[in-house]
């Protein structure tokens, strides 16, 4: 019978895993995927994706040296080092050397300044400005009297985004904004910046560049997502080899010391692995893709299952008949129900990410539990294995002797500290900023910022998203929105902005522009030519040149121009045929401008104001609030279920995890100057393990083997999760900083709350 049950469970596990394998698990790492679907329009999600993709693929190197020639030589050498890489495509200066837009569109695409003057009927002024240019001793833009006497094209080029801090010098990009001579190299990655193969190919090359730079006393500064991504990957690798190896070694030594055998390690790992595998399989089958955060935290929460194995192993060690006793079954069942109740509460929130974690953790726990129940009695051979007597002795020596006086003191201390902790937490505030997700050290971020500033890319992360059914409607709508932007710029609330319709006006606007220019020619050409004493022939040729050049710029022609190339990531086509454009904001962006644009977006259909950083912080904050609610509900639900069994003694089970959680939370808040989402997730783990400890001890009436079992599983969890406090990766650190003190407090407090009696132990 037991063998049949075990076999059926094996078939189920294999079945579920192979179905999921056939579907193929797909992972998701975008933070936006954690947002509730209804909260963001599909257009803005696509826009954010395309913006981050466009940014994510760029790698920029800035090379500085006090002497121009040396900076130049260094740039050429670094260029040849990187030329070998198949994943780096150099963005050559050639496209910047071309004219940013063909001059034949000079009458249909006007600069903002010229357009404003002509719209206001300042014909004479436009003519006088052109004359002024002509009479200046050295012209800042060349004047072509026949093709463009009024300097319309020169004005467009001066306004154009391509006249930035970068100029080309002998086939290289030279920066004009730095006090030291500086050259820039631009690269586009042919593969994803987060892919490990990209990073492993790139790392030795970048190291070569750094070595070259330090050998030649050249300063090289880099900017690009791939730098941060590879830093994060390196750091994770390093931490796995230090913290990870440390905790695995610690766990192995612990098991060896306790049992003089490594078998229990195997009995612990099998249920957890089966649990995590089944959880991943079912999550894959239910959700379109599994979020990496789900996987990380879900697998962590499944770690509670170490309790079931340890409890079973410790209870059965030295027993001749290897079977599940009724009392053992009851305590395991209670442990499971309480933890699953605690985690399943997450499923009630509207957040897809939390629902996934709830499903993952609950399924994982149930599967681990079933594995312990069905497989361990069959596969494990515990008859020859005993808890080593010295461990029992040690436990006995270290465990405080229970007395009612000490009990009262402990309860008083725990309650008092919890009240103080609660007041402190109540007075502190949350820190939901992006820093909790940021792995890069500050000097790497500063280096990135320096490069971007030197290139004049002072772009805000906030942008406006305009959506329409077709390109003409889109451009007209953008021109409408730009009226507000122009006013804000004029009033000094906004530095500058970059939009598509500046270089690709709507067809309607282009026709209006040509009409405006023809009026300029009609009224101003003759007096202009008279003033400079030009011949009638020149005047005639100028008029002819205008008459023959009424070319309208089309989308496809714009897309092949250097300007179109540069702005291509700002134009997004959607699957439903809609098309969106992004207006980026540069330089100053006052609070007044922000609120006016938000106001505009809320009133105008399909105009969205998108602030990705605030969105992410906002998401983290809302997740935190929801999760806190879940935690409170979990405590209430679990308490009321356990109340049925334990009646008046319920508080003995709830008090240790509750007060330990409050104290750990207060300590973490004190250390970090605020709390965040990841702290709360860790509290769920403290709750789960703490409950198990209380229930197991209560059910076994404080048997020594139980105390040893919960002690072992607590130390194992401390080694596995508590050591994360040493991590440099913020998300992991914020998890560890709660688990470490939390589990320690539960463990220290429990023997004062419930008596551990060594006399009743079977092993003694």
């Amino acid at each position: 019978m037991r063998k049949v049950a075990a076999f059926i469970w094996l078939v189920i596990v294999l079945g579920i895993c192979s179905i999921a394998w056939l579907k193929g698990p797909s992972f998701e790492s975008s933070i936006m995927a954690l947002l509730p679907q209804s909260e963001q329009s599909p257009y803005s999600a696509a826009a954010m994706q395309s913006q981050s993709d466009a940014m994510g693929q760029l790698l920029t190197l800035m090379i500085l040296h006090p002497e121009v020639d040396k900076a130049r030589t260094a740039t050429l050498n670094i260029q040849s080092i990187l030329a070998d890489s198949p994943i780096l495509l150099e963005q050559s200066p050639e496209h910047l050397q071309q004219q940013s837009l063909n001059p034949k569109f000079r009458f249909s695409v006007l600069s903002d300044q010229v357009k404003r003057r002509l719209e206001n009927g300042q014909w004479q002024q436009q003519s006088d400005i052109a004359l002024g240019q002509l009479f200046n001793p050295v012209a800042s833009a060349p004047v072509d009297l026949k093709a463009d006497p009024f300097g319309l094209y020169g004005s467009f080029l001066q306004d154009s985004v391509l006249s930035s801090n970068i100029k080309t010098q002998q086939g290289l990009f030279r920066l004009s904004s730095t006090p030291q001579p500086a050259f820039v190299l631009f690269y586009r990655l042919s593969e994803n910046a987060f892919s490990l193969s990209t990073q492993s190919q790139l790392a030795p090359l970048l190291q070569q560049v750094k070595d070259y730079a330090s050998a030649n006393q050249v300063t090289v500064k880099m900017s690009g997502l791939v730098i941060h991504a590879s830093y994060g990957a390196n750091q994770a690798k390093q931490e796995i080899s230090t913290i990870g190896v440390g905790s695995v070694l610690g766990i192995i030594l612990l098991i060896l010391a306790a049992f003089r055998s490594l078998k229990p390690l195997f009995y612990t790992l099998v249920p957890i692995s089966v649990g995590a595998m089944v959880a991943l399989a079912i999550t894959t089958l239910i959700f379109p893709s599994v979020h990496l955060i789900t996987f990380a935290f879900g697998a962590g929460l499944v770690g509670v299952a170490v309790d079931y194995s340890m409890h079973y192993v410790c209870a059965q060690s030295g027993q001749t008949e290897n079977r599940l006793t009724k009392s053992l079954f009851v305590s395991l069942l209670l442990g499971l129900i309480s933890s699953v109740l605690a985690y399943a509460g997450l499923a009630l929130t509207p957040f897809p990410g939390l629902r996934q974690i709830a499903l993952f953790a609950s399924i994982g726990l149930v599967a681990s539990w079933l594995t312990v129940l069905f497989w361990l009695p069959l596969v494990s051979n515990l008859s020859n294995m005993r808890l080593h007597p010295s461990i029992i002795d040690m436990c006995q020596h270290l465990t405080p002797v229970y007395s009612s006086k000490r009990h009262l003191q402990a309860v008083f201390a725990a309650t008092t500290l919890s009240v103080i902790g609660s007041v402190f937490i109540y007075c502190s505030s949350a820190k939901d900023d992006l820093d909790t997700l940021q792995t890069s050290p500050i000097q790497l971020l500063n280096e990135d910022r320096t490069v971007q500033q030197a290139m004049g890319n002072g772009y805000q992360s906030t942008f406006l998203l305009i959506t329409a059914t077709g390109i003409e409607a889109l451009l007209q709508k953008e021109e409408q929105v730009r009226l507000t932007l122009d006013r804000l710029r004029f009033e000094g609330d906004l530095g500058n902005y970059l939009s598509i319709s500046q270089s690709l006006p709507s067809q309607a606007q282009q026709h209006r522009n040509i009409t405006l220019v023809s009026e300029l020619y009609r009224t101003q050409l003759a007096p202009f030519m008279n003033k400079i004493g030009a011949s009638a022939l020149i005047k005639q040729e100028a008029q002819q040149s205008f008459n023959q050049n009424h070319t309208i710029l089309t989308l496809s022609e714009w897309q092949t121009s250097p300007l179109g190339h540069m702005l291509s990531s700002q134009l997004i086509r959607h699957k439903d045929g809609h098309i969106s454009s992004v207006i980026r904001i540069q330089g100053k962006f006052s609070q007044a401008a922000k609120s006016q644009l938000q106001e505009l977006a809320s009133h105008t259909n399909l105009v969205e104001y998108i602030d990705p950083i605030a969105d992410i912080s906002d998401t983290l904050a809302r997740y935190r609030t929801q999760l806190t609610m879940c935690l409170v509900i979990a405590y209430l639900v679990v308490s009321s279920v356990l109340l049925l069994r334990y009646r008046k003694q319920l508080w003995q089970i709830i008090l240790p995890p509750l007060s330990a959680s409050i104290m750990a939370f207060a300590i973490a808040t004190l250390l970090n100057g605020g709390y965040n989402l990841f702290n709360i997730v860790a509290l769920m783990l403290v709750f789960g393990i703490g409950l198990d400890m209380g229930i197991f001890i209560k059910e076994s009436h404080g048997a020594a083997h139980t105390w040893v079992a919960v002690s072992l599983s607590t130390i194992t969890s401390l080694l596995a999760f508590g050591l994360l406090v040493l991590s440099e990766t913020p998300v992991l650190y914020h998890f560890g900083v709660i688990v470490l003190p939390g589990l320690l407090f539960v463990w220290l407090l429990t023997p004062f709350i419930q008596p551990i009696s060594y006399g009743e132990s079977r092993n003694a």
Binding site: Q113, Q125, D128, I129, L131, G132, L134, F135, N136, P137, V138, S140, A141, P142, D144, L145, K146, Q158, S163, S164, N165, K167, Q169, Q170, S176, S177, G456, K531, I532, G533, A534, S535, I538
Partner: protein, 188 residues
């Protein structure tokens, strides 16, 4: 600092430095200078000469203003960071030279020529100088690639002050400026 740079120039370009040194002795670079100018700009493509005249004024290291009075009224003001164009007392354009390399070069060139700032000019040109008694003449050939794309050469001449500038462009255009009625204040 400035003397350190000059010191370096003396020893690395001994022959050239001697004549620039002579230039510096002949040419006064006052704190403030103002005067009248006559300009003739020849446009090769349309075979037309544009004549203009007006006044100019500069304050060393601060500002140059170029006030064209005939045939139109136009004021060009250069500061180390900006180029401002005004007509009839109204600003019509402000160019930030820090964000615009073309404007930066233009500004340096104008400042360098007008104030005969040899150190500044030396970053863009090879300078060849001739002196005879109280008169001097300097031939400037671009060493900077960007400038060489637009300008063939510049020649400056004068006595105590700069008197004539001739600028020859690659496209055949040329500009000749004569200064007169010069009034100086302070001396460096």
């Amino acid at each position: 600092m400035k003397s350190a740079i000059l010191f370096l120039i003396f020893f690395s370009h001994a022959i050239w430095a001697a004549s620039v040194d002579e230039l510096k002795e002949l040419l006064h670079t006052p704190e403030q200078l103002s005067g009248h100018f006559d300009q003739e700009k020849y446009l090769a493509a349309v075979d037309t000469s544009l004549k203009s005249s007006g006044t100019f004024a500069y304050i060393a290291e601060q500002e140059i203003s170029w006030h064209t009075l005939a045939p139109i009224e136009n004021t060009l003001t250069l500061t180390p960071n900006q180029i401002i164009t005004a007509q009839n007392g109204q600003q019509v354009s402000v160019l930030d030279s820090q964000n615009n390399p073309v404007v930066q070069v233009f500004s340096d060139l104008f400042f360098g020529v007008m104030t005969a700032d040899w150190d500044l000019l030396q970053t863009y040109f090879h300078i060849e100088a001739h002196t005879s008694q109280e008169q001097w003449q300097a031939q400037l050939t671009p060493s900077d690639v960007n400038i060489a794309q637009a300008i063939t050469h510049v020649s400056l001449s004068g006595g105590a002050f700069l008197e004539q500038v001739v600028l020859q462009e690659v496209n055949g255009n040329s500009t000749t400026i004569q200064f007169s009625e010069l009034l100086a204040e302070g001396s460096q």
